[in-house]
Symmetry: C2
Subunit: 710 residues, 2 copies
């Protein structure tokens, strides 16, 4: 294994300075295997920078990272095994580890090498605190067994979507000029960054599988294998998006019917070849019967039939299929108010509960529509107790500012993961995705760990049979990985929440700031500034864009910037129905589309009534007059004016804060953020003016505070 050259890539949250505490100490790594080598390499690199080094196996050490199977164990590790903390060592699994400090030695013990690597990054997060006071042994295990990023990368540049669909960070890091990238070092560096967050799987191509990309499954499988080789040392498995019609397009068959014997044999043989090339291949991702992609409907088969066919092909090799539940009619008639896109996933999939194989994972977007700034949690997540569900988030900021706006999304994800479909006593979304027991065990493990609450706090204890957490990645070949340097925080936070969904998003943010800007000459001041800029940025963005959960109002196609009626008369099923009297979508059982009925109690009732429905989702569930009084006490139209003035003002304040941070960070990064903030301020004002003008023109209600509306 060659040591990756990190000089050419932005270090993101793993700058050399973040390894100072480790690098300046004597460290002993014990254990075999590829990932143990990775741990040795990380330690060696840090030591080379900061003067520490591998400890003499027989001598004293400051830090011990060891597999429980290593013999002989270093004394500090053996003491842990023999001591009162040994209970924590039970059931660590493939990725878990125990962290302890006693007698001046910090110890990480794991049953498998991946656990050592995760433990190492835990020590990195703690920094000097890892070497301070004694700490009792504490086990850390990932809440989600699979923590995955989907890349919507095309090999060929798509004429409309570009190379990365919904990508705002340049070209693909995997593909260039129609071939595998020549910059595999960058792929490896990416894997290293992901490993430090806890991510352990990626899918390397767009779920819209075009002609060229379809061949990754067969004659271009070598490209996938090359990527897998780069990521393997970081414990990251590679998955592939496949086209449901592959048996026709690639196999020369006349059908892709999932119950056809030849089709099944083709998938079995093809999958066999995949595993012969990539033994630890993760599995397939499929978008079927969605937005023009082929699927089982063409053969009058169910989506369970389709998913199970692929699951059966993968099962002998331990692979899984991620089958996306994003199925709806994108040729809807806007005149037809009874059809409700929000209902579609539930209507399609809930009846299939129990029909999916164990290695078929239904991948459900967190909301019923499509990654809007504010949506309720998808009712599908509570509707399929006998199906492995993965919750899909969108790290790439398609509808949340496209990495030109600061929008730290972890608070939204945290709300989603903490949503309890059956009320306060029931399981939450995190538990459902975890597949943990019904007692909400996800929330129980771990305790806070000082200022950096993320460090060791609230890790999951389950790693159950659930589908895990998946997100659409936001990286590209941009020098800062994510276009907007601050959008790195979303990628980081996703991995952390997938490992430990109970983490406080603000604490994760501080953790990211602390690592990323470890070398700043004034970490405290910079940390305060960035926290103020980012922690509430999702709410700021929400204020100046579509109001009260109604969604969309973006420019069709690229989805950037305001266009209040942009989707109003389209076939996409995304409407607000504003007229001169009121606005919003009636999704009630009583008078609307009946969507509220897809929720169990209490939410079904809570959402049904405009009085109990949370303000922030009011227009998602109800069509109300402009004068309707919110729980906040404001009218709907005044709320629209107020939030839009406030949101644009907050964007301007964010820019002011950053101006004061000049000199505290790398000038190139500072300038990039500054340039993006200029655009955010401009865009926020545009949103404010268009939305306010639209509703003033429509309602005729003047602003109560007499501000200028155009």
């Amino acid at each position: 294994m060659t040591t990756p050259d990190l000089t050419d890539v932005h270090p993101a949250w793993l700058p050399p300075e973040a390894f100072r505490a480790i690098g300046s100490r004597r460290t002993l790594v014990r254990g075999d295997g590829l990932l143990a080598e990775t741990v040795r390499e990380e330690v060696a690199r840090a030591s080379a920078l900061y003067g520490g080094g591998p400890a003499d196996p027989a001598g004293p050490a400051d830090l011990v990272l060891a597999l429980t199977t290593a013999t002989p164990l270093p004394p500090a590790a053996q003491a842990l095994l023999d001591g009162p903390g040994a209970d924590e060592l039970a059931g660590l699994g493939d990725e878990g580890y125990v962290l302890a400090r006693h007698d001046g030695v910090t110890v990480v013990l794991a049953d498998a090498a991946a656990g050592l690597l995760h433990g190492l990054f835990h020590v990195v997060r703690l920094g000097e605190r890892a070497f301070g006071a004694a700490r009792p042994a504490q086990a850390h295990r990932p809440a989600m067994r699979r923590r995955m990023l989907d890349h919507w990368d095309n090999i060929d540049v798509h004429p409309v979507m570009g190379q990365v669909e919904r990508g705002y960070s340049g070209g693909s890091i995997f593909w260039r000029d129609g071939a595998l990238t020549g910059d595999l070092a960058r792929v490896r560096a990416y894997g290293r960054l992901l490993a430090a967050t806890g991510v352990n799987a990626i899918s390397v191509n767009n779920v819209n599988v075009h002609a060229t990309e379809a061949h990754l499954l067969t004659d271009r499988l070598g490209d996938v294998a090359a990527i897998a080789d780069e990521l393997r040392p970081y414990g990251i498995r590679v998955h592939l998006s496949v086209n449901f019609a592959s048996p026709i397009a690639l196999g020369g068959l006349s059908t892709a019917d999932p119950l056809d014997a030849d089709v099944r044999a083709w998938w079995a043989a093809t999958t066999e070849r995949v595993y012969a090339t990539i033994p630890d291949f993760g599995g397939y991702v499929v978008k079927a019967d969605s937005e023009g992609q082929p699927g089982p409907f063409a053969y009058e088969r169910t989506h369970a039939d389709g998913a199970n066919m692929l699951a059966d092909a993968l099962a002998p090799h331990g692979g899984v299929v991620h089958w996306r539940a994003f199925v709806y009619n994108h040729r809807q008639d806007w005149r037809d108010r009874s059809t409700d896109r929000a209902r579609a996933a539930f209507d399609h999939f809930a009846p299939l509960d129990g029909q999916f194989r164990d290695n078929a994972i239904l991948q459900v977007k967190h909301g019923p529509l499509d990654f809007q700034t504010r949506e309720p949690v998808s009712p599908v997540i509570a509707a399929m107790p006998s199906t492995r569900l993965a919750v899909e988030l969108q790290v790439t900021q398609e509808y949340t500012g496209q990495q030109r706006h600061v929008c730290y999304l972890a608070p939204m994800w945290s709300e989603v993961l903490g949503f309890r479909p059956w009320g306060p006593d029931g399981r939450d979304v995190a538990a459902l995705a975890t597949g943990g027991t019904a007692d909400g065990s996800v929330a129980d493990s771990g305790t806070a760990d000082g200022a950096l609450a993320g460090s060791g706090a609230a890790d999951g204890g389950a790693g159950g049979p659930g589908g895990g957490l998946v997100a659409v990645s936001n990286v590209g070949d941009d020098r800062f990985w994510t276009g907007h340097p601050l959008a790195q925080a979303n990628l980081y936070a996703f991995g952390r929440l997938a490992w430990a969904p109970r983490l406080d998003p603000g604490a994760v943010l501080d953790e990211w700031i602390g690592l990323t800007f470890a070398a700043s000459r004034d970490r405290a001041a910079l940390g305060r500034t960035l926290h103020e800029m980012m922690d509430g940025s999702w709410h700021t963005y929400e204020r100046y864009t579509a109001p009260l959960g109604v969604g969309f109002m973006v420019r069709p196609g690229h989805h950037y910037g305001p266009d209040v009626d942009g989707y109003e008369y389209t076939p996409w099923g995304t409407y607000h129905f504003a007229d001169r009297d009121g606005v919003g979508v009636d999704r009630t059982r009583a008078t609307g589309t009946g969507y509220t009925g897809q929720y169990p109690e209490p939410w079904s009732e809570v959402y049904e009534s405009p009085e109990s429905c949370p303000d922030e989702l009011l227009l998602f569930f109800h069509h109300v007059p402009y004068g309707h009084v919110l729980q906040s006490g404001s009218t709907v139209v005044q709320h629209i004016y107020d939030t839009h003035f406030a949101g644009a003002e907050q964007a301007a304040e964010t820019r002011l804060r950053w101006q004061k941070a000049e000199g505290l960070v790398d000038p190139a990064l500072w300038a990039r953020v500054k340039e993006r903030l200029d655009e955010q301020v401009r865009s926020a004002e545009e949103w404010r003016d268009q939305v306010n003008a639209y509703f003033l023109r429509k309602s005729g209600v003047p602003d109560a505070h007499g501000r200028r509306i155009h």
Copy 2:
């Protein structure tokens, strides 16, 4: 000269059957020169099909086409010269001819070979009627000296605009795969079709001159020469769109300042080389300082400076520069109601009147905005008496259904050409473009000629120093040339109106139908059907799209289909300002942008008052309440409802008519039209529903007739 192979291209309005009358007779062609050869070739081809043939020079002939300089003249021609009709022969010019029939011989006499060709096509239009009763000698001359089509063709396929910008008929007929087309036969066939309409100039590339196309001026000039070679036999001269910044991009200079000596020298030398290669080259077309194209503003020079520089380079060779007046701020702030894009061309150019060279032609779009379905005539046309003005029309149906909708545009053009800026006693637009005398002589010449009024009626008598008529072409490599086969009629009518602006558009339509479907088994029935489908189709299209002259309301970018607010909050300067109380743009002097003041009396006053402003332009000039009563007696909002219901209904009726025409035309053509009509009906209903729903939601006024509005 090789005879063009016409078997692979659609014959459009020159099917073999259209030549039956000539082809079955004895014809004598006398005269020398390339175009006389073309006339001989046409006669020979027709004769080969229908059994006639060249007459024995010494024997009797049915048709004589002769140059006045030919010696000896055939007796019938000599008789014309010696007879009472000889007066008509004065001042025929380069393209005029005299047509007569006496003593059983039809005679065409011309001073130049191009006149013979035009005369030949006149005889084609007349068909058997050319060989009936005697007809006195009558002179025919083009009203416009230059009758030109601009091709917005790119060599490279543009990522957004495709190969032909605003092209709805497939790829370019000139360029393919980045090079000159291999199908020059099609170019030649196109030239032949154009010659039959009267067009005598084309520009071969997009006015937005991208990097590749810029090189046509220099190292790729050979491609232009090859096209010129194909078109020369039909009397069509080739022009080139050039990039104002060419001295920098191609010449390696550091500036494109039109007053810089090196720049002027570069243009002079470059133009010299162009003429060395293409001696009859027509000149340059320039879009400068417009929608991102470079121009003289960068050097603080005027557009007269820019145009004159090119004019000076062209003058020694007899070339002209077409300088487009389409200059406006496309980065306008929608919040700013005082800026009015409609004012822009006048504000930019009127002060420059008198400053342009004689061979600089200012090319002015017929309306102040951009080829909308209904606009007033541009006030620039009346504002520059000391400038050669060309009026620019748009044959390609960018805003009029994109060749998916039937929309016969000649009635619109006819209204434009007949508009009299100074009232009923003043000159009209045709006269201004013609550059004719102030007495409106354009309208005086010629008399009607039976049912096909176009045949010989109302030709111009001027051919004055005006700028002529220019239009954006609608052809592509589509098998029917124009996507929608019926859109051929627009191309045909453009050429005919450029030659003779007073022609009745309905008669031109019948002429086109008669030629195009000469072989139909029931020409009378088909003719009635097509006339009913097409003659009022512009008004039908207007009814179901943007109402009362307000314009736009199309999907941004591609401009197809409805999006009422699509341009409302954009920088493009194209707004309707609809709110819950009313709609329209106040362009009055009293309370609006002052645009009405750009017109002379009486129109300045007529447009200023909502009472006298023509209904069809009301919302272009005025912002009025929904309840405002039109001259028609209807309210604005009820008018919107009524016209949209009616327009969609008429589209459906058009389809019904075509269904009955099955079997009367080529099945492939029938099917293509049918498919387009299906789309038109669908789209018209979409327009109806969106526009009506939008205004019902906004105004709250129900339809007086209780029809369903969504």
